[in-house]
Symmetry: C2
Subunit: 275 residues, 2 copies
């Protein structure tokens, strides 16, 4: 018997009679407080893709991190609000039971659009940057880092963690190769989690590790399941940058390319920062 991959263990859903699911946080994806946000985003998407009514493949996902997710049981409540011929619109709530009141509290919400896609004239407008192959790039040693960082093999290209925290004004772009640890064939859930792996842009800009927390994350899926299958468990190439840091919130834009340089997903998030 082979051991289940931590991501698959994390994504395990217990169907409930009313069409909702129960899942549990996984120690392997623990962050400073509660689970890694990318894992939560993956779970919210997964709850839609596992729903028996789900039509097609994911096109877009927006996750709003409304409050902390506590370690333990999570109640995932996906609801199809509209089904068209080739697209479907979902709302999902992630609820947890408040230990004091016994009431369910919304920890995160998501909207998901799924679609049946057909081949059309297609083009990547932005090209993957020319970088060395993944295995030629230095590995980030995550062995003593937070658990979720150990769930990835990091091959740093540029825009890494500052070597000196000088509170200066620095470029905000990062590039890296990354894949699951242990290696796992790419799917929509793991691709979603990969969209959130980048260090906070404010840490780069200011070279100061101020407290941060993602408020809203959006992923646009350009890949279909055939492109994911072709990628297998190879490293993906990620790039992230910021457009603005303003009064407690910065934005991040990100692109994820497959090993052959074709876009898999583009992503955006807005993130709280302190000071």
């Amino acid at each position: 018997m082979t051991q289940q991959h931590p991501l698959d263990a994390m994504l395990h859903l217990q169907p409930q009679a009313d069409g909702s699911f129960v899942a549990h946080t996984h120690a392997g994806y623990a962050n400073m407080v509660g689970p890694y946000g990318g894992a939560t985003a993956a779970l919210l998407l997964h709850s839609v893709l596992q729903h028996p009514d789900c039509l097609g493949q994911p096109l877009s996902l927006t996750v709003n991190f409304a409050g902390p997710v506590k370690d333990g049981a999570m109640h995932l409540v996906p609801r199809a609000v509209r089904t068209n011929r080739t697209t479907q619109h979902w709302l999902v709530e992630l609820r947890q039971t408040d230990a004091e009141t016994g009431a369910e509290v919304v920890s995160s919400t998501a909207t998901v659009v799924t679609a049946i896609r057909r081949a059309t004239v297609s083009a990547d407008v932005i090209a993957a940057p020319a970088v060395p192959p993944a295995l030629d790039c230095p590995a980030f040693d995550a062995r003593r880092a937070m658990p979720w960082l150990q769930r990835y093999d990091w091959r740093m290209v540029s825009g890494n963690l500052p070597a000196t925290w000088d509170d200066g004004q620095h470029p905000t772009q990062s590039r890296l190769w990354v894949r699951d640890v242990p290696p796992r064939p790419l799917d929509f859930a793991s691709l979603t989690a990969l969209c959130d792996v980048f260090i906070p842009r404010v840490w780069l800009h200011r070279a100061r590790p101020v407290p941060v927390g993602t408020v809203s994350l959006t992923v646009y899926f350009h890949a279909d399941s055939a492109q994911l299958a072709a990628q297998g468990d190879a490293h993906v190439l990620g790039q992230a940058d910021a457009q603005a840091l303003r009064n407690g919130f910065f934005d991040q834009t990100a692109q994820i390319w497959d090993a052959g340089g074709l876009l898999l997903a583009t992503s955006h998030q807005i993130v709280y920062y302190k000071e």
Copy 2:
């Protein structure tokens, strides 16, 4: 008595006993079929900002255009799913009554995050492009165009509608100055609508006017109400580009700067296209 601005007429909300609102589509913002999507997005945001429980100012908005909005009455149902000390998370549904069945159908959904923001170290990472002043740029004559196009004064900078529809491979970036017609002091609703004014990127890339429709639109608000007030009714500078066109859907990234070159908002959308 001065005549009400079309945008204010469009945004007029009738409060209902259950905390929801009734509004009506406005002929001035009519698109090919139903209202201009930017106007619908503005209305969804507005319904949250007008809600008596609303905390702070908008930080992010995601609108999913689930189905066509028909001309006539709209039922806006905002719901605060979580209120924290400085942030608040909303779900909104735009429903319309199906003429045949009499049942309410969801036409659009939105998630909104509002926040009480405090001054912090801030920086625009991307600078406004150097372009001629708005009034030195050629005006696009919208007098015979669809009604919503007549609601804006267009000052074209680059990446305009193709002069020749040659079905080629062209750059996808556009820049323009734009403001409401008649001029109207900028607010969060009008800024939201401005994030959706760009012509479809696929029309530029292919120089072919294929059918299109926005599926999901996200706006990150960097401006606060003081920056909006300082802008008044001057033209804003907009820039849009695409990252990928793939199997029926392309993405669009956009930036909106104020007259002084400070970012007001950044925006993203994913758009259906045919062929």
